[in-house]
Subunit: 209 residues, 4 copies
Amino acid sequence: MTPNRLEAFSDGVFAIAITLLVLDLKVPGTDSEHTLGHELLANWPSYAAYVISFMTIGIIWINHHAAFSRLRAVDHSILIWNLALLMTVGILPFTTSLMAEYLKESQGEGLAAAVYAGSFLLMGGVFVGANRHILFHRPQLLKEPLSEAAARRTLHYAALGQIPYLIATLLAFVTPYITLAICAGCAIYYSLPVASRAGEGGQSDANIA
Amino acid sequence: MTPNRLEAFSDGVFAIAITLLVLDLKVPGTDSEHTLGHELLANWPSYAAYVISFMTIGIIWINHHAAFSRLRAVDHSILIWNLALLMTVGILPFTTSLMAEYLKESQGEGLAAAVYAGSFLLMGGVFVGANRHILFHRPQLLKEPLSEAAARRTLHYAALGQIPYLIATLLAFVTPYITLAICAGCAIYYSLPVASRAGEGGQSDANIA
Amino acid sequence: MTPNRLEAFSDGVFAIAITLLVLDLKVPGTDSEHTLGHELLANWPSYAAYVISFMTIGIIWINHHAAFSRLRAVDHSILIWNLALLMTVGILPFTTSLMAEYLKESQGEGLAAAVYAGSFLLMGGVFVGANRHILFHRPQLLKEPLSEAAARRTLHYAALGQIPYLIATLLAFVTPYITLAICAGCAIYYSLPVASRAGEGGQSDANIA
Amino acid sequence: MTPNRLEAFSDGVFAIAITLLVLDLKVPGTDSEHTLGHELLANWPSYAAYVISFMTIGIIWINHHAAFSRLRAVDHSILIWNLALLMTVGILPFTTSLMAEYLKESQGEGLAAAVYAGSFLLMGGVFVGANRHILFHRPQLLKEPLSEAAARRTLHYAALGQIPYLIATLLAFVTPYITLAICAGCAIYYSLPVASRAGEGGQSDANIA
């Protein structure tokens, strides 16, 4: 299999997962006792979660491309690592929905937020693992050899990016709002030009996740 | 990342969002007191909204291609602008469903229609913003340089196309039917050859939204 | 826009519509008074409709490719014709679900079956219209010129293919089972090698729908 | 149609089916009498089924590529075989959901598990059939001729891979957990490097399914 085909398939999964997020936005029932305006406003966690998850998946897609475009060929082990990564991307519509639905509940809201940030952490962890596998165990499949120092820098940068998600997961049990805020902050940071420049310093493909 | 890959990913999101619209068409329950014919006819707002949203997404897809095919390369900022645009496309199945479900209600119908037209306006606004960013802030990434006059004409044409959606949003509170009619009119106009010719006069990629 | 990009986008819509058909297969509730085996067997119209719709969409996809691969370029009018065709493909998960749910009801079953076959007829009609537009109004966009006789033969063959769907739509009010049988028969016929050969006699891209 | 286009369309269906699996993960209702943690843990069959089905579809996608990348051209019969294969892939979100929902029930759990493993068996059977058709009935369409011995080895290897699914289907009526375990074991086995090497011995494209 060529890297191009792997990328095209992965692009499909990213595009579908990102678009399925909309299914978490529910139309308020027409038989509610509240006005539609009230109902829509009360659904703000769903919109916040939609935007955060959309941008986060979008950014991991950018990084996925950067990481896999370095390859001139793929073997079975890389295909399986990629599948594992896509599997963690595929569950995000579920964890996003879970968070949105429980954010304002008085019970389960901490766990729901922990699962939400935890799913980003899982995705990031698998991304770091896939990168590590490519850079250190399959260097012969790279288009251009990378010095060990550069490879380490890339990995460190990617691993560092997981720390906010780890904190967001742990703090979920204090209040889910801080979790939401940290995840939003990460999405904003990686959308800014500064993240791109920082990434180029390390390795531009390690911007996130 | 090459413009081709950005386009392929974007095409995926457009194709999924446009096809997910069908999920807003609900099969009437078999336990209704009315005949199926009556139930299906009563659902006409869903069919109207499906057709209008389908054509509108299709036309923005055409314009997306025209705008991004001008690029010989993309940078981080363009990727993020594109993600923001796709995010506004991705919510259309939700706003379409909202409009269809509330159109004939006696409460909330104005707000639902305003959200519907407003989501087209948002998408159009981000499209204008992305175009502006490309033409004025990243001219060095264009395949062929565009004179400032031509760039301005392109932007003006795209921005003008938002006026009907702005009017449709505002008039939603008078009656949602006028909103539906204006959005339908826009979809029809941009489907006609005349829109294409007008676009070529300005810039063919600025046909809509 | 190149024909390739139009095809890639169209492929996406076909692939999504065909895969969304699975959402019509519902898992029986665990609180039913009947055994699961009984419930699954009682759902046979859903499985039949899934198979028929899947193969029919698959075959129209094959024909779509044949028709559009003749083009060396596309213009605005062809893009719009293509969008209209995709719109009729996009509603098939809905009409399939409608048919499956009403097939065994004692009320509405005829109308549901008529809508089902009618949606195939609509898709086929738009396909014939798109073909007609390409062959007779945009011959200058074809890769290779087609004699008027050959163009007529192609169109006739495609139009003839609609007759069974027209009959299936009309007979739906007699009994929906005959509608299902005719649609199944068409899917089987176009899957056989004989259909391919017949198509080559006329024009291989006019096999169906 | 070129093999590339067939692959791109098939990739789309694989990517959508694999991503739709997430729709089987349901957010627990906020009005449950149990804690969210309890509800999420009680849903473990859904997560297990998600992971197993995701990896199984991923692996059949790898094998699909290997099998179809041997072709230099496709004819009508290969397109129809491919559609039949995609149809069996497309139903997996349904059978996965069925298994997950019934696994812990006291009635129907055996049948649900049998349908689950049976759907893998069906997919595998159609894959073997498609391979057989290509290797023995359309050898003239292969890029490179394959000796009859090699073709037989490839088919045997693919057919052997169905035996665990056959056993899993039959044992479902003893206990559905053994079915789940066997399907999980297959997914793990084919993810390991050893499966890749074994496949290369036979034919690397016959690894599974």
